[in-house]
Symmetry: C2
């Protein structure tokens, strides 16, 4: 039914092997090259990537596992990964595990059954034994965003602690002392690092780290909303608020609007990754921007490099820097 390399050979009057060699970039006698090209044109031949995979043990697919399809931070990176790997004709099989460790491991097995040539993993919440099976089969792994500290492989991370430090420092330079943080879940490496930066900044300026200024929003919009509400319901109110991811920032802003708190007059705020509304809402928020495109590009190129068998510099750990986009939500107090 589909036209094969054999059909092309017949049409071109050469052998099957010659066509195969042509397709794989070997040199042919000029005359044959033209005949083969002509035949391919006329027959509309396309290589069968599956058959190719059978021989070469390559599926030309890369498994990408993220927490949740609906997480815009992850999917932004995935967009860049896809753009990068498709250039070399790889496609990605994207899976989410909805925060369920059980499901995550099931997906990792699933991907292995499909002979993915590489794995890009957004998670720190996985048993190393499964990863070892990948290693054993020689399938390269790149970890993105969330680190698994004990696990030795290529990683594309963000300088979370540094980002937090600079955010909090900015508040301190503006004379704030009641600096609250809405952080992600404590078992997340990212959360831990972001908290670490918060703590280090306070300590660097001899300010106390007080539990009343620390709340957890589970990296969700609802969580951020509720945490912000709690902060402003009591008598003891922070003057500065640092929110450590996009969804919680969204939720916190909703809460603040609803409570009719003036930003930055009554509250200074620094958020994270304010994708869609960046330049639109008033007052425009000062946010920490993560280089999602770059992360995806690096992760994509890294996995391609390893798939090709190039293990120079292994393990590469890229720690990318964030950028603070200064807008109008931070005010100096007296």
């Amino acid at each position: 039914m589909a036209v094969t390399i054999r059909d092309v050979a017949k049409r071109a009057g050469v052998s099957l092997g010659t066509v195969s060699r042509y397709l794989n970039g070997y040199r042919l006698r000029e005359e044959n090259r033209l005949k083969v090209e002509k035949a391919i044109q006329e027959l509309g031949f396309k290589q069968n990537i599956i058959a190719k995979g059978l021989k070469s043990n390559r599926s030309m697919t890369i498994g990408v596992v993220i927490d949740d399809f609906t997480n815009i931070f992850c999917t932004s990176i995935v967009t860049a990964i896809e753009r990068t790997v498709e250039k070399e004709n790889y496609s990605i099989i994207l899976c989410d595990y909805e925060g369920d460790t059980e499901k995550l491991e099931q997906k990792l097995n699933f991907l292995r059954d499909r002979f993915v040539d590489g794995l890009i993993l957004f998670s720190n919440n996985v048993r190393l034994s499964i990863m070892d099976e990948y290693i054993r089969d020689g399938i390269p792994i790149v970890i993105v965003n969330e680190d698994i500290p004990g696990f030795n492989t290529d990683k594309v991370l963000v300088d979370n602690a540094g980002a937090s430090f600079r955010a909090v420092e900015r508040f301190i330079h503006s004379n704030h002392t009641k600096i609250a943080i809405i952080n992600g879940p404590p078992n997340s490496w990212v959360s831990q690092q972001r908290f670490e930066g918060y703590k280090q900044a306070l300590e660097a300026y001899n300010l106390p780290v007080e539990s009343r200024w620390i709340k957890y929003g589970n990296f969700t919009t609802v969580g951020g909303y509720l945490a912000a509400k709690e902060f402003f319901e009591g008598a003891d109110i922070p003057t500065a608020l640092y929110v450590t991811n996009y969804y919680m920032t969204l939720g916190a802003v909703m809460a603040i609007h609803e409570l009719n708190i003036k930003v930055p007059q009554e509250l200074s705020i620094i958020g994270f990754d304010y994708f869609e509304l960046s330049d639109v809402i008033k007052p425009s928020l000062t946010v920490i921007e993560q280089p999602t495109s770059k992360m995806g590009e690096i992760a994509g190129n890294l996995i391609l490099k390893r798939i090709k068998g190039d293990y120079t510099g292994y393990p590469e750990v890229h720690t990318l820097h964030t950028r603070m986009i200064v807008r109008d939500s931070v005010r100096a107090i007296s």
Copy 2:
């Protein structure tokens, strides 16, 4: 390297064919079945899905093309699709085309080169000639959400006009006459249908359809924000606002909060798909909820059915109903 069916056969002391048949659910003599199962266990054998695909002409993958990885409405459906098809051991290759028709067609070709067994398409913006190639190759197509009216295939749609009608009717029953709509791009079938319902409702109650109450937000948060701003900047202000998707609703709410407009005292509002904040923001919004899980499930089962060669009822067009979740954002005026 990997353990093959041949290894299993040798270990079990049966022929390769016997093992193959076992794997494909044929009956074996009890004694042989046990031997084969034992061998599979001991060797940790796993079928090579790629080799299998070469024979059966099945890739066990389904191509899913959405507009944008970061669109939560689409990804919610995709989550359900994936959950459905993975039960039958299919995986999905998810592509986005970022609103670029050129890129969309490129992706469709890409997926065809990978021998996807089926295609699930979220778009109305594609040349039929490409689809015809799928048809010709016998690859089933299911269209989700956006309809391509001239194109005859299985579809999973939403009763957009009906949803709009009931939303606007609700406003009318509450004595509103200045009913504004923030709609998506006019070239989208979904937009057209949602506008149609808006129009029909007004006409049904002998109210005029006025262009001053119609704005376009391009289905984006920023678009919704800007459109809402425009509505409330002039002297001529609507008393009711209907926003036709999630992102625009988010943006509109931001604008409304920022302008300090009281809901529902000064403005009644009905939005769409208020995923994350549904029960959280105050006043809680009355929204139209689309059955994303169900859409994904139906689309997944439909494509599986067609892949199996079951073309009963073709073409099936499922038009699902939305649900209005009534909360506190609509108020009757005198």
